[in-house]
């Protein structure tokens, strides 16, 4: 399936510093249409019918999330754009924010109107500090043009923590607390930021909204697969000749992206979805990219034949142990134990029993951790044990 630009349609075309260049590309027409012709319920219905699902990793249906927040009781409601982009190997949100901040602002204004929120936040990754000025100016230009009379947008900078990309830790962070996860339920649409109904969406999810409003749910619904509608923006990096950001129709082959577009050679391992994503061998390169198969937040990290699987898994787990918030026991202790075991394997000091221990531990962490980090942290371990088991077996210490 081909490349297609819905999310990236303005990237490289408009001048991100000048709102007029955006207006020339149908900018803010969707917002005008929404405010003038569509009651909030109709907007939400449209998004639901479109089949748009969250692009931040979990794939939750966007329209349903908005509907829950719309129906929730609350004197205040909030819209949050998750621009924390902490997942290893993702850089597509940065690419978008650098080139087209206006579509995001328009989408947030539509979201605010749809759920009945007067205030929105962009939670900006600490390392994206250089974008603060550009985003701030884009918001002021939209305000000056009168597009934000019903809705105010503030930017909140992160402080460099991966877990603050997780929605509940992100809200704690905006509230000025330690970036730690909350248990759920209650979910953010009923009780989110400061206990008020809140929707939180990834940058890319929101970027689709104006096009869905302008072209209609059925237009969007035609693109993609049964349960994965629209396109996905991928961040491709690692052992490829052309690393970068690519937007493909959902359901496209991994092969097309990695081999034909990014020009990889001698591929051995592909990590899809970053540190908490899946690890697959080259044999599986004909897998389609969709919510039904593998996707995550669209980070594609390619490793060629010179790379060592144990090394990759060890580094990934070390990262997760470092970034774990420390609140719940299975993740706080489990990631550390995994890192210890993998470190031994990486220098040929594995013990026979370790493999079983890794499997049992993975299971317990997936089942009992409080949030997605601890639940998905075992993914690289489980996948590498499935597809590259001999690499482990060859690192068991011989007496």
């Amino acid at each position: 399936m081909p490349e297609k630009w819905i999310v990236l349609r303005n990237c490289g075309v408009i001048d991100p510093k000048r709102i007029t260049t955006y207006l020339d590309r149908d900018g803010f027409k969707a917002l005008k249409k929404a405010l003038a012709e569509m009651p909030p319920e109709q907007i939400i219905e449209e998004i639901k019918v479109s089949g748009l699902r969250g692009r931040g990793g979990a794939g939750f249906p966007c329209g349903l999330k908005w509907e829950l927040a719309r129906k929730a009781q609350g004197d205040e409601k909030y819209v949050i754009c998750n621009a924390d982009e902490g997942e290893v190997g993702t850089f597509k949100d940065r690419y978008i924010l650098e080139r087209d901040p206006f579509t995001l602002i328009e989408a947030m204004a539509i979201a605010g109107y749809a759920i009945g929120a007067k205030r929105g936040y962009i939670y900006l990754r600490a390392e994206y500090h250089h974008l603060l000025d550009l985003l701030g100016k884009a918001i002021s230009q939209a305000r000056e043009k009168g597009f934000l009379d019903h809705f105010e947008i503030a930017i909140h900078e992160g402080a460099g923590s991966y877990i603050c990309g997780e929605e509940s830790a992100l809200m704690e962070s905006i509230e000025g607390k330690r970036g730690e996860v909350r248990y759920r339920p209650p979910f953010p649409p009923s009780r989110g930021l400061w206990g008020k109904p809140t929707i939180i969406n990834n940058v890319e999810t929101l970027m689709n909204i104006p096009q869905v409003i302008l072209n209609g749910a059925h237009w969007f619904n035609q693109i993609g697969t049964e349960r994965s509608k629209g396109t996905k923006v991928f961040s491709v990096s690692g052992d490829v000749k052309k690393p970068g950001v690519y937007e493909l129709v959902l359901g496209s082959q991994l092969r097309e992206l990695v081999m034909d577009l990014a020009l990889a050679e001698k591929v051995k391992i592909i990590q899809v979805g970053g540190a908490t994503g899946r690890i697959i061998p080259y044999d599986m390169i004909d897998t389609p990219l969709s919510f039904e198969t593998i996707l995550g937040a669209g980070a594609i990290t390619v490793f060629d034949e010179s790379r060592d699987i144990i090394d990759i898994v060890h580094r990934t787990i070390e990262f997760l142990a470092e970034e774990c918030c420390g609140k719940c026991a299975p993740c706080r202790e489990g990631t550390e134990v995994m890192a210890e075991i993998l470190e031994r394997f990486s220098c040929g000091e594995g013990v026979e029993r370790d493999i079983g221990v890794l499997e049992e531990l993975s299971n317990a962490m997936m089942l009992s951790s409080l949030c997605g980090l601890g639940q998905a942290a075992p993914n690289p371990v489980v996948d590498s044990l499935q597809y590259f088991r001999s690499a482990y077996e060859s690192r068991i210490r011989k007496n």
């Binding site: 970034e323 918030c325 420390g326 202790e333 221990v357 409080l370």
Partner: protein, 225 residues
């Protein structure tokens, strides 16, 4: 408050709206182990010992903070639940200092009791131990964080009952630690003699100064349920 019907371990039971799975189970005589939760404190869902299986849920759910909903089908002691609880206790023991014989709270330690109930043996994990110097500068309280399992009961007891807000959490992941101010040893300037946190600590991490050893006096050291 509406009535809610749930099925726990095959029996139909009823509870009221807003009740947690743990409360509904306890009310019907079903025992679910807990470590971080105390009925007097707001739940935080940190230790995960109380997880149960709920039909239709991808993961196990924390029973101390998850409200019951109509028609919920719950298993509190399925093999999956028991195996998971065992691994969690094993993890907590692995990084724990391990000197129960030397500990004044060995007979009242909740971690030890739960480990015995679940028949957790010597941990297989070779993770590093947490070692911190004992904080004994306060005339009221001794903190031996080497024995801390990060249940945060002290933090919440101090915040919610005494409203003194003496403790906070610092650092991340495995290095997380219950700290006072900018990680200074607890002293009499920040904490008065109220004992609230000590009574909430499930392990030997917090104890009174003068009464050290009291719990053990005249009792044999037994691991029992």
């Amino acid at each position: 408050m509406g009535e809610i019907t749930v099925t726990i371990n095959g029996s139909q039971l009823s509870g009221s709206e807003g009740m947690t799975i743990l409360e509904a189970a306890q009310e019907n005589g079903i025992d679910i182990p807990t470590l971080c939760h105390r009925p007097e404190l707001t739940p935080i869902g940190a230790c995960r010992i109380c997880v149960v299986e709920v039909e239709g849920s991808r993961t196990l759910v924390g029973s101390c903070h998850t409200p019951i909903t109509q028609g919920m089908v719950i298993y509190t002691h399925s093999p999956k639940v028991l195996e998971t609880r065992k691994v969690i206790v094993e993890l907590l023991l692995a990084s724990h200092c391990g000197s129960c014989f030397m500990c004044d709270k060995a007979n009242v330690c909740e971690l030890r009791r739960i480990a015995a109930d679940l028949e957790v043996g010597l941990p297989r994990f070779r993770v590093r131990k947490r070692y911190y110097p004992i904080e004994d500068v306060s005339p009221y309280i001794v903190r031996d964080l080497t024995k801390c399992i990060l249940c945060r009961r002290c933090v919440r007891a101090c915040n919610e009952i005494k409203k003194a807000r003496v403790f906070g959490i610092a650092y991340r992941g495995f290095d997380s630690k219950v700290v006072v101010d900018f990680d200074q040893p607890i002293d009499k300037d920040v904490c008065q003699d109220c004992d609230v946190c000590i009574s909430f600590c499930p392990t030997g991490a917090l104890s009174r100064v003068k009464k050290l050893g009291e719990e053990k006096k005249g009792k044999a050291l037994v691991i029992s349920s």
